[in-house]
């Protein structure tokens, strides 16, 4: 019981720190650095290594905090993160056959695209369809490119650290005993 409460508190603290970093620090960084999407990175990481339930819990914690801090309409970050999680989950369950670095990259790229598409479509709804939808602008695709690049780097880092720490993701080889 205490262990579970402790885990939930640690998880909530990680979400609080991550959301504050995303909201205040990363947003003020120059150039392509402000396109780092910490929430999305953590979401895919959690989905890949800990499963859908943990990812759902993360969406609620991180999404609630971001929706509280931000001036987007309430539910904006919930929906964007959920859309990215659903897309990643479907790809992970139906298309990917193993948990390799390449699978991890595919998930990150899909999540980045879906998250950003959801964000601009929701924003387009929120302004009563005024102007152009964001995905028709050059800046949208530039931002998706930067985010994908950061996410690919982060995926390589997360994956290698996880493999080094956890045995179940280490590669293994079947060897024939007593043979040639």
């Amino acid at each position: 019981m205490f262990k579970k409460v402790g885990q939930i508190l640690i998880f909530a603290a990680i979400c609080l720190v991550a959301s504050n970093l995303q909201f205040a620090f990363i947003s003020s960084l120059p150039g392509a650095f402000n396109q780092i999407n910490l929430g999305l990175m953590l979401l895919v990481f959690i989905l890949f290594f800990f499963g859908a339930k943990a990812a759902l819990f993360f969406i609620f914690s991180f999404g609630f905090l971001m929706d509280t801090f931000s001036f987007q309409f309430f539910g904006f970050y919930f929906i964007c993160l959920a859309a990215a999680a659903v897309a990643s989950y479907l790809i992970l369950e139906n298309w990917l056959t193993n948990k390799s670095l390449y699978s991890f990259w595919v998930l990150f790229l899909a999540a980045t695209l879906v998250y950003n598409l959801a964000a601009v479509i929701l924003a387009f709804f929120a302004v009563n369809f005024q102007g152009l939808p964001g995905f028709l602008t050059l800046s949208f695709w530039r931002n998706v490119f930067y985010q994908s690049a950061w996410n690919i780097l982060a995926a390589a880092l997360f994956f290698n650290i996880s493999v080094a720490l956890a045995k179940r993701f280490q590669p293994f080889f079947l060897e024939k005993k007593g043979g040639l």
């Binding site: 609080l16 504050n20 970093l21 909201f23 205040a24 620090f25 990363i26 947003s27 003020s28 960084l29 120059p30 150039g31 650095f33 402000n34 859908a52 339930k53 759902l56 969406i59 609620f60 609630f64 905090l65 929706d67 509280t68 801090f69 931000s70 001036f71 987007q72 309430f74 539910g75 919930f78 929906i79 959920a82 659903v86 964000a119 601009v120 929701l122 924003a123 387009f124 929120a126 302004v127 005024q130 102007g131 152009l132 964001g134 602008t137 800046s139 530039r142 931002n143």
Partner: protein, 270 residues
């Protein structure tokens, strides 16, 4: 027939999201939201200052450092002097008018509220890249929609476009869609509306062809139609777009302060 599993994550998500949006709409979870904001605001402010510091040093390192710092120093003093000059010119003009009417009314008497910038927020709906600022003051501190926001030098950098209990969102004068009623400090005292351009400069459109605009003319707020007082410096004219066969001409205005380096601002309460 579609069977819904009891522990379907999508179902759980929809129910919890619906409940949270409902509770948020009713304001039941507002105390929790305010408490969270109160808790993180000091940390956010520090994090933002660090990020802005990195941003500032990053942009400086891209050029030759010594030369750039010298230019920056000179630019800062020029901007301070230009703002002062514009202020005095405005005061002089007003003074003359007032003297001529023998009606002495003290002008530019307004209160300001100091605020820390705690974040930059992406505007997903803008047609081009733009980011708004979030400050740590809100309705509780007396801020309202459309109040003007000043840099420490006294130039107007934007206006409030959204207010919550304890924070506000500011659009920058260079952001598309951020409009201010403005006036040129030229012979004709040309009036118009400024609008941000690509997050870099400011446009002033629909100026009649007969109005004379010169490069370097100062642009100030006109005080028309809103909560922003007259005489706050917006920038100076850096380019005039005028075609003889057009009805209107346009001016491109450069802001006098670097909008990326700001960490503290003041909100004008009229």
């Amino acid at each position: 027939m579609i069977r819904i599993k009891k522990n379907n994550p999508l179902l759980i998500f929809t129910v919890v999201l619906g409940l949270l949006v409902f509770l948020h709409g009713l304001g039941i979870i507002r105390p929790l939201e305010n408490a969270l904001l109160f808790l993180v605001k000091p940390v956010s402010s520090k994090l933002y200052v660090w990020g802005a510091g990195i941003s500032s040093s990053y942009s400086e390192n891209r050029e030759k450092t010594d030369l750039l710092s010298e230019i920056n120093r000179l630019q800062q003093s020029v901007s301070v002097l230009t703002i002062q000059d514009s202020h005095w010119r405005e005061v002089e003009g007003e003074n003359e008018k007032l003297r001529s009417q023998l009606n002495f009314v003290a002008a530019n008497k307004f209160q300001v509220v100091l605020a820390n910038i705690i974040a930059k927020e992406e505007v997903f709906s803008a047609t081009e890249d733009s980011r708004d600022l979030v400050i740590d003051r809100g309705q509780k501190d007396g801020l309202r929609l459309d109040y003007g926001v000043l840099s420490p030098d006294g130039a107007i950098i934007g206006k409030i476009v959204e207010v919550s209990d304890s924070s506000s969102r500011i659009c920058l004068v260079t952001s598309p869609g951020c409009q201010l009623a403005a006036s040129l400090q030229n012979e004709d005292k040309t009036k118009g509306i400024t609008d941000g351009n690509l997050g870099l400069t400011i446009n002033m459109n629909y100026i009649p062809q007969l109005e004379k605009i010169a490069l370097g003319d100062m642009v100030i707020t006109s005080g028309l139609g809103g909560n922003i007082p007259r005489g706050l410096v917006i920038g100076k004219v850096s380019e005039v777009k005028s075609e003889s066969n057009e009805v209107w001409q346009a001016a491109i205005i450069e802001p006098l302060v670097n909008l990326n380096d700001l960490t503290v601002v003041s909100v004008v309460i009229p």
